[in-house]
Every structure is written in structure tokens, then in C-alpha cells.
């Protein structure tokens, strides 16, 4: 087997991925990039689950990751449709152009 990669490595990587996703959501103004940020957050969570599951030799984490993937796919489908609909109205996917609700 050789030396195993310690759990903390996985956790640090996934925390970094999660942070990058969070920053993308908070900073970027392009709807599609924000969307990718959210997906990145979800995938970093998957990595966390799998790492913990491996560490604990427990299958729950694996099955949760499957659920998360399915949910993320459903969310992606709805999210892309919503962004596309916004594009049809504004001819832009920049969320700063979506200001018609402010007074």
C-alpha cells in the first residue's frame, strides 16, 4: 500500500476549494461563473465527505456524496434554465445588470 495520504491533506484541499467557490460566488459578477462557484463548493463538500468516509471506513459518506451529486445535477439543470431566461430578458449574464427590482 505504501504510505497513505493523511486525512488533513484532503481536508485542506477541500477547504481551499470551498473557499475558492465562495469567493467566486461573492466576487464575480458573471452569472455563469457564480454558478461554477456554487458547483465547486458542492464538489469540495463531496471531497470532504469521501475523505472522512475513507478515514472512518464508513460507507455513509460515500452514499451521501452520491446524493449530493444527484442534487447538484438537478440544481444545475434548474439554475442554467433560470440564467438562460435572465439572458433572454437582459441580453447579458452579468448580475449587476439585473437591477429592475431595486427602487
Amino acid at each position: 500500500m505504501g504510505t497513505e495520504i493523511p486525512l488533513s491533506y484532503y481536508l485542506i484541499v477541500s477547504a481551499m476549494l470551498f473557499s475558492i467557490g465562495t469567493i467566486a460566488v461573492l466576487v464575480r459578477r458573471n452569472a455563469l461563473v457564480i454558478f461554477m462557484g456554487v458547483e465547486m463548493m458542492l464538489n469540495s463538500v463531496n471531497l470532504t465527505f469521501i475523505a472522512f468516509a475513507k478515514y472512518r471506513s464508513d460507507l455513509d459518506g460515500h452514499s451521501i456524496a452520491l446524493f449530493v451529486m444527484a442534487v447538484a445535477a438537478a440544481e444545475a439543470a434548474v439554475g442554467l434554465a433560470i440564467v438562460l431566461n435572465l439572458f433572454r430578458h437582459k441580453r447579458s449574464v452579468n448580475v449587476d445588470d439585473a437591477t429592475s427590482l431595486r427602487h
Binding site: 488533513s8 481536508l11 463548493m41 478515514y55 442534487v71 433560470i82 431566461n85 430578458h89 437582459k90 427602487h103
Partner: protein
């Protein structure tokens, strides 16, 4: 944790709702002609009525207990909330058809999505596992995202959907990361398992929570990752409930979304989020260490509720758009309900009215709030048509004389939202505030008096913007013609809401009893709280141990409406359902 086939009965309401949604989708998709498709709404209503019947059947015939190895619970709590969700869904479906047709969006998917969202909510109320909370949350949220953007031809609807989607998905991801950290530190996602792990670590000093070093044998007291996980769970739920630092999406989403959808979002979605919060906080994080210690959730929610109430009311005052005003008011209402949660969490399971009954005040508040808010948004969807939208206060001017019935109904909803007797909103607020005061008396803690005082003053200030609606309805000159959608079904739904708002206002006792019964066989807490019930408070102040007698006295003395709750924790239900 092997699944038994007898567990399947616990899925009955979900199954009925799922079949209803499927039938609605199929019927609609095979409907080829351009004839009015009002009958799709009737099928959806029938499906929801059947779901309500199945909830009722479960209540009468299936003993409370866990199912599927404690993935879900069936108890009075889930029954009460399921009934509330389904009721809200029925009223929403009844309000919608004419409104949707007017705006050229009469499609059967609307009803199917409402039913699917309701299914997700029911799962949240029944959840005994973080994974189930998450799945329920997503089933509900994804359906609601679509419902918000349902007016595809309307740019505002598209914009609202985008904002709601991004913040909703962001919140879900945060919730999920919290869930992953808790899974890692406690070894599971079952709510009872989390509580057991925390108890074990708190009582033994050296603990079962694995510290995140690479040495398997290393231990420490509660791992910081666990607290970060809890915090992220709370933040994720606070987004859904719209507590104040996490409320930014609410006004925009509510303003742009179809009015009929907004009524559903503001009531049922919020109630579902509160249901999941109660499950999560009382079962999973119900142990002292995570509840009332210095890092516990009671303290955090205490401050969140204060700023939510203040900001919600102040922002509502300055709005000119009625929908936006109602959005901020719904934020404030979430703050009031949170007070009940804080009071219940403060004293724990065993302490009479402020224990379980504290949570029942939240349930009762949600009930009163649901009728008034659903009704108010229903009226907004009833007024105006596709050419002339009713959005500002000025648009409402003089409508009270032109349409006396609808004016009266709107006044009832506004009075209830403002908490003025004789409406349901008054009783609901009174019940929550009293719960908080009792919690304060038990603990001898003045901060609860302050909390209630702030909430009371904020609600007096809040009366301004509700009564402004009434003033515009009856004391301003009408400016221009305002059409209404003459729909008997919508009118009927509004009348039902107004009737219940008044009925609960003048005759609240049975409804309060239903709400407190709902908390009687609350599942999963015997592990979390222990048989004797913890009443010690360490986070905000310390409850002297000898005050048990005082607790008892308070329960009886300050409680003219409700019978006191039994003080012992509920009996163990371990005998079945594993």
C-alpha cells in the same frame, strides 16, 4: 439499521403527494387543446386533500416513532406541520388558476411544482438525519426556484429567480459543508447520533469526537471543526428562514415573483425551515454543550432574533411597494418566531411551558402567520390584471369602498400581521412573548424581558405600515380604475384564510392545544436531553438548581390558556420501528 417493510407506512403522505404530482404532470402534458385547464388545478387540489387525509390517517392509526433506522420520524410534530404545509399548498393552488391565466402562464407544471415543494417540506419536518434535512431542503428549494421564475415572459420574475437561486444554492452549499464537518467529527449524520456523540464527549471529558490529527487515538474536547460545522448548518438554515444578516435575497425575490408563489414562499417554506431547525436544534444540538453553553445556538439565535425584528420592521416602514413591505414584514415575523425557539431552547425539555410548549408557541405562531400572510399575498394577486398591477400603497387607495368584501378581508390580514386583537396574529405574538417571559422568570434572567420589550416596541412600530394599508384602503381618494380578477375560487380561498384568522383570534384555545399536543410525543429528544431533563442554563445566565419548584409554580401561575405540559420527558419509543 436494516429497513423493515413496516417502515413503509411512514412514507404514506409522501407517496400520496408524489403520485398527485405525477398525475398532475401527466394530465397536463397530455392536454393538447387550448381549452382552459382549470381542471388541472382541481386535480392538484384533490391530490393535496388526499395527502391531508393520509396525514390524518397516520395521526390516528400509526404510532409515533422513527422509521428507516431513524432517518425519518413520524410524530405529532411532523403531523402538525404536514397538515400546515398541505393546507398552505391547497390555499395557494386555489388562489392561482385565475391569476396565472391572467398573466398568460397557466401551465400545469405550476401545480405539480407546488406539490413537489410540499413533499420536500414534509420531508424536512419528518427528518431525523441531516441527509434527510438536506434532501427535503433541496426538493423544496429547486421547485421554488422554478416557481419564482414561473412568469417566463416577465423580466422581473426572471431576475427574482436568478437572485433567489444563487443565494439559495449558496446557502445549501454552506449547509452541506457544515454537514460534512459534523459527519467527520461525530461519525454520522443522524441527529440522535450527533447528540449522543456530544453527550459522550461532554460527560467523559475526553471524548469520542475524533480530533483532526492523523493520530487515530488523539482526543480533545469538542473539536473546533464540530463548532464550525454547527455554525454553517445554522447559517444555511438562517438563509432559508431569512434571519437578518442572511435576508438580502428576500425583498427582491418576493417583489419579482408571482404573488401567488410569494404567499407560498413566505409561509410554507418558512415554516418548513423552522421545522427543520427545531428538529436539528432540539435533537441534534439539544445537549447543553451545543445548546446553552457559551458556544451554543441559543445565544446566537437570541441576538439574531433581535436584529431580525428591528431591521425587518424598520426596513418595512420605508417601503412604498406593498409586496416589498410584506417581504420585510415576513422577515420580522421570522424574528418573532425565533423568540419562541430561543425560549424553548433556553430551558430544555423538562421545564413546563417554556420547554416543549416553547416550541409549540413557534408552531402556533407559524399557523397564525400562515393564514394572514398567505391571505395578504392572495389579495395582492386578486387585485389588478396584466395591464394594471397593484404594487404601491397608492394603488390601493379607495379600494375599501369599491370592493368592500376584499377590503375587509385585507384589513383582517393586516390587523393579524400587526398583532392587533381580535385576530390570530395577536394571540400568536402574545403566546410567543409569554413563553419568552416565562423562560426569563424561570432563569431569573433579565435579558428575556429586554428581548420581549424590544420585540413589543418593534411590533408597535410595525403596526404603522400595516395600518397604512388600511388608511389607504378607506381614507384616501381612489385614483383610477383598479380591476380585480373575479374568481370565485380565489375569493373562497381568501375567505377561508380570513375566517381562520378571525376564528383563531377570538377562540384560540383549541388551536393552541393542537400546537402543544404536537410537541408532546416529539421524537428523538430522550437521547438528547436525558430522562430528567436539563434545566441548567449556562450561556446567558445560570438557573439555580433549587428552582425546580419555581418552575412548576410558574407553569401553573402564568398559564391561563393552556394546560401545563407534563414535566417529564416523553417515554422512550424504542420499542418499535427499528
Amino acid at each position: 439499521m436494516l429497513i423493515k417493510s413496516t417502515d413503509l407506512i411512514a412514507l404514506l403522505p409522501f407517496f400520496v403527494a408524489l403520485v398527485a404530482a405525477t398525475v398532475v404532470i401527466l394530465v397536463d402534458v397530455f392536454h393538447r387543446t387550448d381549452k382552459p385547464r382549470a381542471y388541472v388545478a382541481h386535480i392538484a387540489t384533490a391530490g393535496m386533500v388526499l395527502t391531508l387525509a393520509s396525514v390524518w390517517y397516520m395521526h390516528g392509526n400509526v404510532e409515533a416513532g422513527p422509521a428507516f433506522g431513524k432517518l425519518i420520524y413520524h410524530d405529532g410534530f411532523s403531523t402538525f406541520l404536514n397538515a400546515l404545509f398541505v393546507l398552505a399548498a391547497i390555499l395557494t393552488i386555489m388562489v392561482s388558476p385565475r391569476y396565472l391565466r391572467e398573466h398568460g402562464a397557466e401551465r400545469g407544471e405550476y401545480y405539480a411544482l407546488i406539490i413537489l415543494a410540499t413533499t420536500g417540506m414534509m420531508l424536512m419536518a419528518a427528518a431525523g438525519d441531516l441527509l434527510m434535512v438536506f434532501l427535503g431542503l433541496e426538493i423544496m428549494s429547486i421547485a421554488i426556484y422554478v416557481l419564482v421564475g414561473f412568469f417566463r415572459a416577465d423580466g422581473k420574475s426572471a431576475e427574482a429567480a436568478t437572485k433567489y437561486f444563487f443565494l439559495g444554492a449558496f446557502a445549501s452549499a454552506i449547509f452541506l459543508y457544515g454537514m460534512a464537518l459534523i459527519y467527520g467529527t461525530t461519525g454520522g449524520t443522524s441527529l440522535e447520533g450527533i447528540a449522543a456523540a456530544v453527550r459522550a464527549s461532554a460527560s467523559s471529558g475526553d471524548n469520542v469526537l475524533v480530533h483532526m490529527t492523523d493520530d487515530v487515538n488523539a482526543t480533545s474536547t469538542l473539536d473546533p471543526l464540530f463548532y464550525i460545522g454547527c455554525l454553517m448548518l445554522l447559517v444555511g438554515m438562517a438563509f432559508k428562514v431569512a434571519l437578518v444578516p442572511f435576508h438580502m435575497w428576500t425583498p427582491d425575490a418576493y417583489t419579482g415573483a408571482p404573488s401567488s408563489t410569494v404567499g407560498f414562499m413566505a409561509t410554507a417554506v418558512k415554516a418548513a425551515a423552522f421545522a427543520a431547525l427545531i428538529r436539528l436544534l432540539f435533537i441534534g444540538l439539544g445537549v447543553e454543550a451545543t445548546r446553552i453553553d457559551s458556544q451554543g445556538w441559543v445565544k446566537m439565535l437570541f441576538y439574531l432574533s433581535i436584529i431580525t425584528i428591528i431591521v425587518g420592521n424598520l426596513m418595512a416602514i420605508v417601503q412604498t411597494n406593498v409586496k416589498r413591505m410584506l417581504a420585510y414584514s415576513s422577515i420580522a415575523h421570522a424574528g418573532y418566531a425565533t423568540i419562541g425557539l430561543v425560549a424553548a431552547g433556553y430551558t430544555g425539555a423538562g421545564a413546563g411551558i417554556s420547554g416543549y410548549a416553547g416550541a409549540s408557541s413557534v408552531l402556533f405562531y407559524l399557523l397564525t402567520y400562515t393564514f394572514a400572510t398567505l391571505g395578504a399575498f392572495g389579495v395582492l394577486s386578486y387585485l389588478g390584471n396584466r395591464h394594471r398591477e397593484v404594487t404601491t400603497y397608492d394603488d390601493l387607495s379607495g379600494l375599501g369602498y369599491k370592493y368592500p368584501a376584499i377590503g375587509f378581508i385585507l384589513v383582517v390580514f393586516m390587523l393579524s400581521s400587526a398583532g392587533i386583537p381580535p385576530t390570530a396574529g395577536f394571540v400568536g405574538k402574545f403566546h410567543v412573548f409569554r413563553t419568552a417571559i416565562v423562560a426569563g422568570e424561570i432563569s431569573g434572567d433579565n435579558s428575556f424581558i429586554w428581548l420581549v420589550a424590544i420585540a413589543f416596541m418593534a411590533s408597535v412600530a410595525g403596526a404603522y405600515y400595516y395600518l397604512r394599508v388600511v388608511v389607504h384602503l378607506y381614507m384616501k381618494e381612489s385614483n383610477g380604475e383598479v380591476p380585480v380578477l373575479r374568481s370565485k375560487l380565489t375569493g373562497f380561498a381568501l375567505a377561508i384564510s380570513a375566517f381562520f384568522t378571525l376564528l383563531i383570534g377570538v377562540y384560540p384555545t383549541p388551536f393552541i392545544e393542537i400546537a402543544s399536543d404536537a410537541m408532546k410525543d416529539f421524537q428523538g429528544v430522550e437521547v438528547a436531553y436525558g430522562p430528567q431533563g436539563e434545566t441548567r442554563a449556562a450561556g446567558l445566565n445560570v438557573l439555580p438548581e433549587e428552582d425546580a419548584a419555581k418552575v412548576e409554580a410558574n407553569t401553573i401561575r402564568i398559564d391561563p390558556i393552556v394546560a401545563p405540559m407534563p414535566d417529564q420527558a416523553p417515554e422512550s419509543h424504542d420499542g418499535h420501528g427499528h
